[in-house]
């Protein structure tokens, strides 16, 4: 059994169109469309074609190496993996809780990461579509084109990202792939000079982030027919929230809302994620399909990331972002906003929130304290969940008496959105491509829908030995000679 447009009947009689690779996303993916003679879409799939396998090769390595090794999953949001792994391994050294200094430095690092990643996605990857139009000339539809036509927008985008990268460098030691978080705490505090450097620009980042929220909001206000309808599908919303229901991207408990906005599950401790989430594998993608176990794969899927988080929380605990959240909620007129392009608006609200959190944290004297490490009774298992820029990121490890990792499970943000992205692709294919002569501009509509989720495809493909793979040997006439299947 499969979803509508997931698998066509008589596939071998249909014409195949591939978008390969999907551009301006992290990692490698492709979209395949199967069309009949009249050009009607019969099948649409987002395939993730790269294979990584971190879950397997982290096994047998010492636990203290993990936060540094797993961040190599990604060059865009390594901090998320770095911190999720460190959080998961805090119990292994008995650091329950970690010190106030360690938590605040980790938070600073994380919100710096949110800020730089969201800026990168909005300005560098998506603004060409949003500012020029989905079918604008492909030669212009890139960041260089944006810099030429909207130099101030491009400049702010670059400098916002740079600021986020500076926060990461100061807290982790390097802009990409640092070592700041260690099981039990952090390995460095801020110096007064570090803090002064960041404070000098912090207010400007808040102002620019607010401008970016307004830019995204205007897109919906001025072209509601497109921005509120493009690729529209409804789904459940899943994320961490703080104990009091506030948005919290570093820690909290898990909450699920249904498509109408009602809370279905709440106060799920992070350590219990495995009782609620199962993952399905499909033969045509390296990326798994998570779902809520009690609801099953056809009803239990959901979306994660900014669009889910902004609506899953009860409030945002910084004033400017909260004002923007309320405007966003009002735009839904009593219903959750499900439009994929609203991800951009929600993402910019989070960027503003991150800038405000950074500004507030920089006033905290704990950042300068040397009280960085905690320890206590050691445990052999830990789960670390964090809201990465792209959504809920789950790291789960077990460690043997010899200090080597014996089990590793990663459910990466983009993986949660697998079904959601496929739904968006199918909606767009149905609405814009069906029965039409396909052009590059029309096919870019598919990519625009995928890009809204800001997927990181290289992050999301780590299972090993569970993937059902089929190998077919065909003779020169195309007849099947032999077929081998594994893992199904």
């Amino acid at each position: 059994m499969s979803f509508e447009l997931e698998t066509a009947a008589h596939r071998d009689t249909l014409r195949r169109v591939a978008i390969d690779p999907v551009s301006r996303v992290e990692g490698h993916g492709k979209v395949t469309l199967l069309l009949d003679e009249a050009g009607h879409v019969k099948e649409a799939r987002l395939h993730i074609v790269e294979f990584r396998g971190f879950e397997k090769f982290i096994q047998g390595r010492p636990y203290w190496e993990v936060p540094v090794m797993v961040q190599r999953l990604c060059g865009i949001c390594p901090v998320s993996h770095h911190l999720a792994a460190a959080k998961a391994l805090d119990p292994v050294v008995g650091a329950i809780p970690i010190t106030a200094t360690a938590e605040k430095i980790r938070r600073l690092m994380h919100y710096g990461q949110i800020l730089q990643s969201h800026a990168l996605h909005f300005f560098h990857l998506s603004s060409p579509d949003l500012l020029f139009g989905f079918e604008s000339p492909v030669q212009q539809r890139n960041i260089v084109g944006v810099a030429a036509a909207y130099p101030e927008v491009a400049r702010q985008g670059v400098l916002l990202r740079k600021f986020g990268q500076e926060v990461i460098r100061i807290t982790a030691g390097k802009r990409v792939h640092g070592t700041g978080a260690v099981p039990g705490g952090v390995n460095k505090s801020l110096t007064p000079e570090d803090r002064a450097l960041l404070l000098a620009d912090a207010d400007q980042m808040i102002a620019w982030s607010r401008d970016a929220v307004h830019l995204a909001r205007r897109l919906h206000e001025t072209n509601s027919a497109l921005y509120d309808e493009f690729g529209l599908f409804r789904s459940q919303l899943f994320s961490l929230v703080r104990g009091d229901g506030a948005m919290d991207l570093y820690d909290g408990h898990l909450r699920l809302r249904d498509a109408r906005g009602q809370i279905v599950k709440d106060n799920i401790p992070c350590a219990d994620y495995g009782r609620h989430i199962l993952e399905e594998v499909k033969s045509w993608s390296y990326m798994k399909f998570p779902f809520m176990e009690d609801q099953g794969p056809f009803k239990g899927w959901y979306k994660v990331g900014p669009l889910a988080r902004v609506q899953n929380c009860d409030f945002i605990p910084t004033p400017l972002a909260e004002v923007e959240r309320q405007d966003f909620i009002a735009h839904g007129e009593g219903e959750p906003v499900h439009a994929p392009l609203a991800y951009h608006w929600a993402r910019m609200i989070e960027m503003l929130h991150a800038a405000e959190v950074i500004r507030d944290l920089l006033d905290d004297p704990d950042l300068l304290s040397a009280n960085r490490m905690a320890e206590g009774q050691k445990r052999r298992e830990g789960v670390g969940i964090i809201e990465a820029p792209r959504g809920t990121l789950i790291h789960h490890y077990q460690v043997g008496d010899d200090n080597l990792v014996s089990y590793c499970n990663l459910i990466v943000s983009t993986t949660h959105n697998n079904q959601a992205m496929n739904e968006a692709v199918r909606q767009v294919a149905r609405r814009y491509l069906d029965g039409r002569q396909l052009t590059e501009g029309l096919l870019n509509h598919i990519e625009v829908a995928i890009r809204a989720f800001d997927p990181c495809l290289s992050c999301a493909t780590h299972a090993l030995g569970k993937m059902p793979l089929a190998v077919e040997l065909l003779d020169a006439d195309g007849s099947l000679v032999d077929r081998a299947v594994s893992g199904a």
Partner: protein, 237 residues
Amino acid sequence: MSGKQFLLDGQPVSFEEGQSILEAARKAGHYIPSLCWHKDFPAHGSCKLCVVKAAGRHVSACATPAREGWEVESNTPEMNGERRGLLQMLFVEGNHFCPSCEKSGNCELQALGYEYEMLTPRFRHFYPERPVDASHPDILLDFNRCIFCELCVRASRDVDGKSVFALTGRGIDKHLVVNAESGRLADTDFSKDDLAAHICPVGVILHKGPGFAVPIGERSYDGASIREKKLREEEAS
């Protein structure tokens, strides 16, 4: 000073009778690289990083006594190119994954890779199968990174009096082993306080726990190259 001298890259270097080229050079403030050489042990001559051209012949500077009037070439494009080749061979023979190695920033092999501008592996990786030994409560052995310098072998045998380590196998199959019937470090009398537990120039013999406790910027070779560090150490000794 005996007043004897040789020329190192055209510079006069004084030496005492019996002193190696490497020792005399470092004493005089000239850096010749090494991995297996240690001032407290006899010359080993196995890593060959200290290769110099003396009187027209390639010799190991650590194992060759200096001679009056010799003209020695060391810091030349030719010799440094050969050193780079040796480093590339050491890297591909093991599994040196610097990005997640806790010795990164403190590792002499990595520091020499930077010093001699090693930008590619050049040769095909061997990807040897070398399981880690985590059996000891205090020490982890990650054999993936062994460069066969035998510093741990010598320290354990000659100073600690335990002979915990040895090299076995021949040629390309040579590898480090633990001297216990089980082959496990836990089944030896190895201690974290042994000299052998503190002498590894790469990331094989690791103390469990500290991991990445030292932040980027404060590690041995973050602020100074291995050339500068070794010469400073020589000056201080």
